[in-house]
Symmetry: C2
Subunit: 93 residues, 2 copies
């Protein structure tokens, strides 16, 4: 593996793993007021397209990294939506 | 441009643009309690490595998308750090 490949794999690992502490924080605190719905809606759609791109190229590193990121981003998006819906109901809005 | 290229460019545009609404929300509300420091620290480092990967390959689409994402992610990371430091000082901790 070349140095450039190594940098690429390290980059992919970091940008995927980054969403683990966010998903854990949100699961633990259920504090979603400062999390942008727009960000997670657009980001989840974008990662789904990266996954489609990896499938089109048959490139397993792109497929694996984006499948993992998609799961994490969709989890955070789902928590944002469900926690805010519950809060609105609780507040009688 | 092939359909696969189009999907790739669309994916890159979405995963970069996604950070704009988060940066704007955080600038406006200064609500960073639900934002994970670990996520933005690891993500910013990962995007910097994607930028290095793009430079090593001489691939301008990778360089441009990751330079923009790096600026946005670093802005959110900087706000997370500075707003929490100010809040701790205000609370006398």
């Amino acid at each position: 593996m070349t140095l450039t490949d190594t940098i690429g794999y390290l980059a992919a690992t970091l940008t995927t793993a980054a969403f683990v502490p966010q998903a854990l924080l949100t699961l633990r605190t259920r504090d979603v007021s400062g999390i942008s719905l727009g960000m997670y809606a657009v980001f989840t759609a974008g990662v789904a397209m990266w996954l489609a791109y990896g499938v089109a190229l048959g490139e397993w590193p792109i497929i694996a990294a984006n499948a993992a990121t998609l799961g994490l981003a969709a989890t955070i998006l789902g928590m944002k939506l469900s926690i805010e819906r519950r809060n609105r109901r609780r507040d009688g809005a």
